[in-house]
Amino acid sequence: MGATVKRLRSGRLRQWLPLATLLLLVGLVGAFQPGFLRPSTLLQMAGDTAVLFVLATGVTFVIMLGGIDLSLQSMASLASVIVALTIARLGYSAFALAIGVGALAGLISGLAHVRLRIPSFIATLAMSGVQSSAALVLSHERSITLQLADRNYQSWITGTVLGVPSVIVIGLIVLLVAHVLQSLTPFGRYSAAIGAGEPAAYASGIKVDRQKIFAYVLSAGFAALAGVMLAGRLASGSPTLAAEMLLPSIAAVVVGGTAITGGVGSIWRTLIGALIISVVRIGMTFLGVNIFAQNIVFGAVLIGAVAITIDRSKIPIVK
């Protein structure tokens, strides 16, 4: 076992492991349940993956820098509540408000992490508590169903574009934006540099704090967008709407092959990771696994993926 893990951790093989895993899983599920491979089913799965992918995309930026964001699920829930409460009055501006609140929350987490020198998991864990409570208080601890009249505003989420569900289109736009940010801008380059070697990045004159804060803004902003998408799909806002999504989102990033220690990774890997998580989820549904037991599997998957992707020679002591 140890030797296998070691071999997987080294070499070129590791790079293709996530994609191979995805294809294998699709093949497996398809073999047991031929209906799964029909284009309509695959399209349905892609739609279901979109929200998870948007959440995972945001946190990818933070993980690339070597940090973590534990507030994304409560941010998404809060965003859904904000949309549900304000859409009647604000119309489309409700979405902008929700995403703006997300960006602000990310800014605060980022500032707390960077300026007060608080570890990111503490800063975002605290922010998560604030967001959960805010969502509970604002919604009076209820799920808020959208009025029929207000659902028109949601058509950009619930509709289709040329036969393709809109959520997939939104997911693809997020993919494009994130890819550009990561691969083509100085921010993306600096993120990789900071994640892989912060002292060298700092000594090279990179404004490390600024890059980090921006990453937290992106993470919370994308989480809010995911919450908006959820509110549209479920036609409601709820303080617990995304409660179970933290673990699958981080698992998606890491399963895709982005190192939890930072520096190595990409949005494409996160896409593959999110698809793997979706296929596993569907596979479990076919196998009749209780939906509430699914996070047991994702927890195990997360541990396994970190064990394979982490380079322990770089970190002798893990805290």
């Binding site: 550009v180 801008t185 540099a193």
Partner: protein, 508 residues
């Protein structure tokens, strides 16, 4: 030298140790007699720390013998060395400051006080009090270490080493690795007095950069150079200058440092430092740095030159005096501010602060000036590739492709990538902090060549170096620092280079 097994506490005979690319110890033989304090000196990289690690069981020699009281032995690991009576007092203090003195003294050796898994604290603290008595520290063993001053902590370290008396059968040998570097003079006197008083119980090996202290404390001194012992002197017959000469031991070779390429510098002042001070580091430092000038700063550890270079590169802001860069007064709070003012820092920790090892050669070269390669916020990939390729060619960086990770480059080529990064960022002042550390001779010469070429083009360089020879050989002018102050300024024009002896007298 005595080979009397009764008098010999510990000796190494013909010890050899190689690491990939480095012959760290070459046929080293030393002997420590009972009750003797032996000094061990040498430049960085001379092999002292490898030797100490072999003596404390951390490394195994490739060949040669270790003898304790004349009997051949092996030291499997640090615990084994401890059991055989070899203790170590570390230069970075190894005490855990959140634990009590007593807990520290017996850390890892609590078994003697433990019954059924429960520690008998009263007896541990009673034993600890007896240990403190040996080193005459007047402190409560139940006090936490962070309540002690540095000198007392050093004494507690010594007491910890002496607890080996209870574990080990024979005579103790205690390795003192730079114990005095964090201490004030009065504290050093106390430490030395204790060491002398303990000579009946133990022998000592004393490693230090401070030659005067080595002369003061030691009975005998070994000098190491390039992995070999080059001298074994009685301290009574030696003096600091002679020791330094033995440590350095090379005559200047003009050609090696490209002296014929050393052109007179220009009148334009790029950096002016006036009465610059930082508490506990350096005081009243004043100099001017001109375009085309290489200014070497010489000084031993603790002279303040390390902190001065860190201040000039933005890591450690000064607290008094004026710093004028390119005609504007500045206080550098972050490296980013220094970079904006045209200062590039080439750190001694190349693999930590110099390069992002897991990024490509191209990404590292453009890292400090990525803004100039963007349009509408996007990096122009073509332009980046062209820039990186040009620097790889210009500095003859040997790499398979510009997309190769810096991790896979040799030390010399890594250093050239760091230089390319700053030249690409159009830095006007380069701060070279031990730029040739760990490089082989060929790579060093290439670095010298590049430094000469860029200064001819008008860049200014501040240089601190592992060897005095390199400082003198490369520089136009040399500042000598001691205890935070400039003690001497020397002109180092080609043909009129000062000798090392001229400068050493101002260093020690």
């Amino acid at each position: 030298m005595s080979s009397d097994p009764i008098g010999s506490a510990l000796s190494l005979v013909g010890v050899d140790k190689r690491f990939p690319g480095v012959h760290a110890l070459k046929n080293v033989s030393i002997e420590i007699r009972r009750g003797e304090v032996v000094g061990l000196i040498g430049e960085n990289g001379a092999g002292k720390s490898t030797l100490m690690k072999i003596l404390s069981g951390v490394y195994q020699p490739d060949s040669g013998e270790i003898l304790i009281a004349g009997q051949p032995t092996t030291l499997v690991d640090a615990a084994d060395a401890n059991r055989k009576g070899i203790g170590m007092v570390f230069q970075e203090q190894s005490l855990l400051t959140n634990l009590t003195i007593g807990e520290n003294l017996y850390l890892g050796n609590e078994a003697q006080f433990t019954r059924f898994g429960i520690i008998d604290w009263p007896s541990l603290y009673a034993a600890a009090a007896r240990q403190l008595e040996k080193v005459q520290v007047d402190a409560d063993p139940r006090a936490r270490v962070d309540e002690l001053d540095f000198a007392s902590r050093q004494m507690v370290e010594l007491a910890k080493a002496l607890t080996l008396e209870e574990l080990a059968a024979g005579h103790l040998v205690i390795l003192l690795d730079e114990p005095s570097s964090v201490l004030e003079r009065a504290e050093i006197d106390v430490l030395f007095a204790r060491v002398r008083a303990l000579k009946s119980r133990a022998s000592f090996i004393f490693v230090s950069h401070r030659l005067d202290e080595v002369l003061e404390l030691s009975d005998r001194i070994y000098v190491m150079k390039d992995g070999a012992v080059v001298a074994d002197l009685s301290a009574a017959d030696a003096n600091a200058m002679q020791l330094h000469h033995l440590m350095v031991g090379r005559s200047l070779q003009a050609e090696y440092y490209r002296e014929p390429l050393q052109k007179p510098f220009k009148d334009e002042v790029l950096l002016e430092v006036d009465g610059l001070s930082l508490e506990h580091a350096y005081r009243e430092v004043t100099f001017k740095l001109h375009a085309g000038q290489i200014l070497g700063i010489a000084g031993v550890i603790g002279s303040g030159r390390e902190e001065l270079t860190r201040s000039l590169s933005g890591f450690l802001p000064h607290d008094k005096g004026r710093l004028v860069i390119g005609g504007r007064e500045a206080r550098l709070a972050t490296p980013a501010q220094a970079v904006d003012l045209g200062i590039g820092y080439i750190p001694r920790e190349r693999r930590v602060e110099g390069l992002v090892l897991f990024l490509s050669v191209a990404a590292n070269i453009t890292l400090a000036a990525l803004g100039s390669l963007t349009s509408y916020g996007l990096i122009k990939a073509d332009a980046e590739r062209r820039v990186a390729t040009r620097w790889v060619e210009r500095l003859t960086i040997r790499t398979p492709t510009i997309e190769t990770l810096c991790l896979n480059l040799s030390g010399g080529n890594q250093q050239k990538v760091v230089l390319a990064k700053w030249l690409n960022a159009k830095a006007r002042i380069l701060i070279l902090d031990h730029p040739t550390r760990g490089l082989d001779v060929g790579a060093k010469e290439e670095v010298y060549e590049i430094v000469r070429a860029v200064t001819t083009q008008g860049l200014a360089v501040i240089l601190t170096s592992d060897t005095l020879e390199e400082t003198i050989g490369l520089s136009h002018s040399v500042l000598v620092m001691r205890d935070g102050r400039i003690t001497h300024r020397a002109d180092a024009a080609p043909g009129r280079k000062p000798s090392q002896v001229d400068l050493i007298r101002y260093m020690v």
